[in-house]
Every structure is written in C-alpha cells, then in structure tokens.
C-alpha cells in the first residue's frame, strides 16, 4: 500500500516537472514579426484606401532627421501612405542591437497611433504592448523636434523606449515635411 502511494507520488512529481519545463519553454518571447507593412497600411486606412507615396530625403531633410535620430540616416527615400491629412509611416530604429520596425500614424500633426510591427531583440519587447504605445496618441512635435508629451519608460526596455521616441518624433517631422510640400505644390 505504501509502495503504491510512493509510486504515485513519484509519477505525479515527474509529470509536474515535465509540465513546468514545457510551460517555461513556451513562455513569452519578445521576438517576432507582429504585422506586415502592407497589412498595417490597410488596417490604418480601412475601410478606405490610401495612396502609396515616396518621400525623397533631400540633404536638408537628412540633416534634420540625423539630429532627431542622433545618427546619420541611411537610404535616399522613405515610403509612406497618405490620405488627406493622415499619413502612415513604417520606420526602423535599433533598440540595443537589432532594428525595431515601428508603424506610426500621424493625422493633423499629432500622432494617432504607434504600433510595433517587428521586434527582434530577446528583451525589452514590452514596448509593443498597447498600454505602452497608447501613450503616444495625441503627441505633437515641439520646436526642438522632441515630443511634447512625457512618455513613461519601461524598466529594462530603456533603449527600446528611446528608439520608439525617436521614431515617433521622426514620423511627425516627415509628416510635417510632406504636408508642407503638398500645400506649397497645390495652386
């Protein structure tokens, strides 16, 4: 009788060990592509469609973008979607070592939405949670090219938070550039 009990306890312990290890191995990983660019654009402008456009980075734009990002900008053009006064951007910025792909929607010079489309680092992925990205809605650009809202950081994800802040400011700047140029081009 005791032997049986002992055996049952052993089996239970083994099953519990197995369950715990398999659970931990399936635990949350920050890495991943959460949404593709085309899907993001479609979702942002649904049910209508927006016009895909290209912003060529002139030396002046590059100089200002370099100040915002605190590093030189690579690439000669940026793709975005626009419908009236609403633009959507997909930009990349390195958190610690790997680039974070961030979608930013700007309408009437304020941020409407920030969404992390792809996160490639093993830690700091908390920036993708809506509770965090919601802080950006309504933020506008100050004269010093920083956000006019305070963004609460995340412990352990400081670099990712900085990256998202920079990209949010950059998208606002790009938005201002394209809105301004389309205003001057129209008769």
């Amino acid at each position: 009788m005791l032997k049986k009990l002992y055996r049952a306890a052993l089996v239970t312990a083994a099953v519990a060990c197995f369950a715990i290890t398999s659970l931990t191995s399936f635990s949350v990983s920050a890495k991943g592509v959460f949404q593709s660019g085309p899907d993001f654009f479609t979702e942002v402008f649904a049910p209508q469609q927006a016009e895909p456009k290209v912003l060529w980075l002139t030396p002046e734009i590059r100089a200002q973008a370099a100040v915002i990002l605190d590093r030189p900008v690579r690439g000669l053009r940026i793709r975005y979607h626009q419908r009236d006064n609403k633009t959507a951007w997909i930009l990349e910025e390195i958190g610690k070592e790997m680039p974070i792909t961030i979608g930013v929607v700007v309408e009437d010079d304020v941020i409407q939405q920030v969404k992390i489309l792809a996160y490639r680092e093993s830690r700091g992925g908390e920036v993708r949670y809506p509770a965090y990205t919601a802080q950006y809605s309504g933020a506008a650009l100050q004269a010093d090219y920083r956000l006019d809202q305070n963004i609460d950081g995340i412990t352990g994800a400081t670099l990712s938070v900085w990256a998202v802040n920079k990209v949010a400011a950059l998208a606002l700047y790009y938005h201002a550039v394209v809105i301004q140029s389309s205003a001057t081009h129209q008769p």
Partner: protein, 247 residues
C-alpha cells in the same frame, strides 16, 4: 664531469627560454598578456583555425560584400545593414540590388543605399536570388510547404519603383545561368576587412603557455620539454656530485 658540461651546454638556451616564458606567465595578469590578441594568418592556421577568404561580388568596378557582422560594405564603406549571407547581387542601368538574409537592398550604381525592402515590407521570406535579365529584376522564391501543401519555386518580377512583385513566366534555370557568383575579394579589401572585423584570434598568453609547455609543437614538443626537465634533474645531480668530488 664531462657529461655535466655537455648537458649544461646543450640545454642552457632552452632553460633560459623556459625561465623567461615562465616569468612572463607568472605575471601574465600584470603584463596583460591575455589581452593581447594575435591573428596573423600563419598562427591561426597553425592553431587549426580555418581562415576563410572573404567573398564578394564585383559590380561596375566596385566590390560589394558582407562584413561578417551586420553590414553591407561597398569598397570598404559600410552602406546598409545586411544579415549574412549576402546571397546575390544584380545590376540594372538604374541601380544595384543586393539580397541579404534580412531583405533586399536597393542601391544606386555608385553604391549608395536607396531603400531596403524587407520581409516586413512584403518580400517573400524564402527569396533565394535576385537576377537581372534585359534590365528587368527577377526574384527567385524557393519552394515552400504551407500546411503540407508544397508550393513550387516561383520567379517574380520586381518593380523597384513601386516595390511590387508580379509572377514572371521565366524558367528559373535561365536566370541561374546568368547569375553572378561570389568571388574572393582582392587582397587589399581582405586586409581592410580583417582590420575592421573581429575574427578569430589567439591571446599572447596562450601562445607563451603553449611554447613553455611545448604543446605549440604538438606531441613532440611536449616530449622535448619533458626531456629538458629530465636533463635538468640529471644536471642538478651531476652538479652536486662534481661539487662533492671537488671538496
């Protein structure tokens, strides 16, 4: 007596070397020997490291290659981020197209990055090569299986202005034949790449330790140092005997 002299003469060079190297090893942390890294080619080969010859693609008189870290390099200048391998390069009259593991880099003919077209932007995940035929850009998408349905390898034409992909009716073999293959980089760029990237290296401490123990020359070296040790024992005994005799 005679043997003592002979033994002494034949071992003194090695003994002095062992004394100096032993001194160096004893004070290795102070001398920071473990922080001095050696990476000369013959030493790495001697230690059995395979020194890979870096490869790249020569397009329009410029060399395009991956630097072993995360960058696409054009003639020594890092121009874009690129996860290895850099699998193909193709050129049209408008620009150069470099396919890395993380996306397709669109560059100007003088090697400046125009933009990146990654999997997030709609590049199929298993894109294998980029080829240019008649100034049109073709991407070869490898076969894949989704839910146990196998999808054959497809060739798609790539529009570099709209970043659009359309299925092209062209045999993969035709493109394969005209594809540019990677070539070893010229010596000058090899050297530059080595200076920039952190390849394999061996610390000076390891080298001295291996010389001291004889391991540097393999099994034979170890036996040789053993022999020297044995000779030192004999020397000390014969020396003691000679001293006793003289008294």
């Amino acid at each position: 007596m005679l043997w003592h002299r002979r033994l002494g003469l034949s071992t003194f060079v090695v003994l002095i070397f062992l004394a100096i190297s032993g001194f160096a090893l004893n004070h290795s942390p102070g001398l920071k020997l473990n922080q001095i890294n050696l990476s000369s080619n013959w030493l790495l080969t001697w230690y059995g490291f395979e020194v890979p010859t870096a490869e790249g693609f020569e397009v329009g008189g410029k060399w395009f290659y991956q630097d072993g870290n995360q960058a696409l390099v054009v003639d020594g200048n890092s121009v874009a981020s690129c996860t290895a391998p850099l699998s193909a390069i193709a050129q049209t009259t408008d620009g150069v197209f470099a396919l890395c593991a993380d996306g397709l880099n669109l560059l100007t003919t003088d090697g400046q990055l125009v933009e990146q077209f990654g999997t997030v932007d709609g590049l199929p995940a298993n894109t294998q090569t980029v080829t240019v035929l008649d100034n049109r850009i073709y991407l070869t998408i490898g076969s894949s299986s989704i839910n146990s349905v196998t999808i054959d390898s497809v060739t798609m034409e790539f529009n570099s202005d709209s970043l659009g992909l359309t299925v092209a009716d062209i045999a993969p073999q035709t493109l394969k034949d005209i594809q540019q293959t990677a070539m070893p980089l010229p010596k000058l760029l090899q050297k530059k790449l080595k200076e920039q990237s952190s390849g394999p290296s061996i610390s000076l401490e390891t080298v001295i330790l291996d010389l001291h123990s004889g391991r540097f020359f393999g099994q034979f070296g170890v036996f040789f140092i053993d022999l020297i040790g044995l000779l030192v024992c004999i020397l000390s005994i014969t020396g003691l005997m000679a001293w006793m005799k003289r008294r």
